[in-house]
Amino acid sequence: MAFVVIQFLNGLASAADLFLVSAGLSIIFGVTRIVNFAHGSFYMLGAYLAFTLVEGVFGPAFGFWPGIVAAAIAVAVLGGLLEVTLLRRIYQAPELFQLLATFGVVLIVQDLVLLVWGPEDRIGPRAPGLEGAVSLLGHQFPRYDLFLIALGPIVLGALFLLFRRTRWGILVRAATQDREMAAALGVNERWLFTSVFVLGAFLAGLGGAVQLPREAVHHTMDLEIIVEAFVVVVIGGLGSVTGAFLASIILAELNAFGIVIFPEVTLVLVFLVMAVVLVIRPTGLLGRPEFAIRAASGVAEPPITPQSEAARNWVFAGVLGLAVLPVVADAYVLSVATEIMIFVLFAISLQFLMGISGMVSFGHAASFGLGAYGAALMIKHAGAPMELAFLAGIGLAALGALVIGWFCVRLSGVYLAMLTLAFAQIAWSVAFQWYGVTGGDNGILGVWPAAWAASPIVFFYLTLAVTTLALVILRRIIFAPFGFGLRACRDSVLRAEAIGIDRRQVQWFGFAVAGAFAGVAGTLYAFLKGSVFPDVLAVPVSVDGLVMVLLGGIQRLNGPIVGALVYKLLQIVLASYTDYWRLVIGVIIIGLVVAFPQGIVGFFGTRLDTLLMQRRNNS
């Protein structure tokens, strides 16, 4: 019994920082309608700044607590600067591009942190006055954890007072409910948005800073916390601070008890809770229905038509060009080209999901990685030949997509995107933690192609053939009745349902198809590298795919091909020049979002269309 109590208290203690981050995320979303992916970065910066301030600048003499507060304030100022310099420019941009821009910030902060603090973990000091442990029911319980347990309710109470007792808080609540009406009453939105962003960043920074005595500060904590925070707001409901509080406790307790029973069960439990909540209340425990934002914008766009003769010839020429590449290229160039083709396939499958089916995924790596792991596991545990392993990879990816998709099609827009990311992260954790089966972070080695496909040239041709075939099949599906059905659901759910289309079912299978094709890419990737590590399931892979699709223009059939080519080349070239390629890519992403909200191919394509139309009209 005592053990249960202690474990419960442990859970409460670790709920504190999760709540701080999720509350900030929720408040910012409520007012600005931006899902701030950089919120985990604020958290990480809070932790690193607190470390520096407590260890260095203020020194032991000045003390721990001022350092913690100063770190949170510094993050708040950074948040304010970010809002004023970047987000203000893109409030009118499509939702996806806002998300992408905050992703860009994540990448930049990751490299900045590495630049300033280096890759090694940083251990913070104990909190003065709260060192050591107290005896509780015969167990030793850290004093500092008692402080954290109190912190959650204190912050909740403070936020409550702030939102109930101050004019600013009342304006925020009013704007969260009806932004237009608040504006019609003279409430200055710009100022309100900035201040809300500052508050959210402060909470995230504080969350990171107070973790200092508890856990090592490291440079991947940004993505870890943001994914957990997403799960929290999906369960608690976007825009609700109390919902975030409840959900953080639920999640932290599941972790606390799961870990002592059987760590792998934790993930299943989280998964089940999320599933139950979403099925019963698609907008979370305390969320509002009006926050369920539609994925497709109402912006008029040209119809998706089978590509023109010219475009087809270009693609054909590209395939031909690739076919003669082995004549001139060495093994290294061939392996780079093979990798690019694999990512072209990955991007095409993601575009099928986002552009054609209107379901925005921030976790497409789940399908890619499941494909890779499916093949690798088949080889490792069953000693299967490549051909069978290949099918197993596709099968596992499709199965995974069916499971994930079942939940996702119950949501839309932002909620759906966050859920996909959460699922991908769960898949990553399973691969990372399940040593017995996946080898954990040691990965699975020896995933080599069959003897006949072992040479780089043959594997290059194999990849070319599979990618081309996949491209043809996906195109065919897009213009088949099923593809039409997917587009119908994306264009207008109202109309689709009114002509007898079962939206959920159509989208569910669409999700599975996209997953299966991403699985094909993942399987090829595993054989190309000869090994599989949990990285193939990690957030950066999802982000890469997303950037490729958005760069190419989400509605353009050939967009992902161009996007994957440009982005992957850029990545390879940058990586050979600098270790800080994420920084450069982050800057480029933000620059592109601000400059070309339609994507590169979209941007030039629209101009091309206009030109062609003029010429046609003239003749």
């Binding site: 766009e301 099923f482 109309r495 007898g500 079962d502």
Partner: protein, 257 residues
């Protein structure tokens, strides 16, 4: 003769507000029934209750012998109810004719097909429907370049694709220029008469209502306050009151106290 649609004791509350309060009416075969009333009278709610977008708290909705309550919109459509929306809802990523083909594909339950080219399916039927609404020459155009009136006609063609027995039209002429309104309603009337389709529509434009409705029902504050042929409704003093302001509402006399 059984009515095509019969609605009995329909009620729906939102929070503390009763949006639709014990409304009963029926649509007979071949008739165009107009539902009118001031803003907030419950017309849209009533429409969504019939169309399956909302579920009533009480009451029955029947299409011939089928109970519609609790069915999702797609099932109601399969039973023979076509729908047009106040703000046009078409598939922007498809051409005009593809929009109609989509409805035909769905109607024939071929939406799961992965291989055939959708644009080669049911071409003749789609073109025939387009020709009936006068859109044949625009079949291959993008929806984003259509005039608003043409979008409305496309919606009509889509709604006709499953050979409906009843059409639900929510403010069919909203947002159109006056000349277009008359033309669209003339087209609608002639099509439904020739195919024996019954229509339930809401409308703000009284010219349209009086020119085309066989009968009119009037809603006010969620309740059915009048029903009858156009001439009778026009002459009904209670309807006059709703539209011209309540004579019973004492307002301060011209000069302030």
């Amino acid at each position: 003769m059984t009515p095509v649609l019969s609605v009995e004791g329909l009620s729906k509350r939102f929070g503390g507000v009763t949006a639709v309060d014990d409304v009963s009416f029926s649509v007979n075969a071949g008739e165009l029934l107009a539902m009118i009333g001031p803003n907030g009278a419950g017309k849209s709610t009533c429409f969504n209750l019939v169309g399956g977008q909302l579920k009533p708290d009480r009451g029955r909705v029947r299409l011939f012998d089928h109970d519609l309550v609790g069915l999702p919109p797609r099932r109601i459509w399969r039973l023979g109810v076509g729908r047009t929306f106040q703000i046009t809802a078409v598939f922007q990523s498809m051409t005009v004719v593809e929009n109609v083909q989509m409805a035909l594909i769905s109607g024939r339950r071929r939406i799961g097909a992965l291989w055939p080219k959708a644009s080669h399916l049911y071409v003749d039927e789609a073109l025939e429907l387009l020709s009936r609404v006068g859109m044949l020459d625009q079949a291959d155009r993008a929806c984003s370049v259509l005039a608003y009136g043409d979008l409305k006609r496309l919606e009509l063609a889509v709604a006709l694709a499953n050979a409906p027995k009843l059409l639900l039209m929510d403010e069919p002429t909203a947002g159109m220029a006056p000349a277009e309104r008359i033309e669209l309603m003339r087209l609608t009337s002639s099509i439904v008469r020739e195919r024996g389709i019954s229509v339930l529509f809401t409308e703000h434009d009284m010219d349209v209502v009086f020119a085309h409705a066989s009968r009119i029902i009037v809603l006010n504050r969620g309740r059915l306050v009048a029903a009858g042929v156009p001439a009778a409704v026009r002459a009904d003093p209670s309807v006059q009151e709703i539209y011209l302001g309540s004579a019973g509402a004492p307002v301060p006399s011209g000069s302030p106290a």
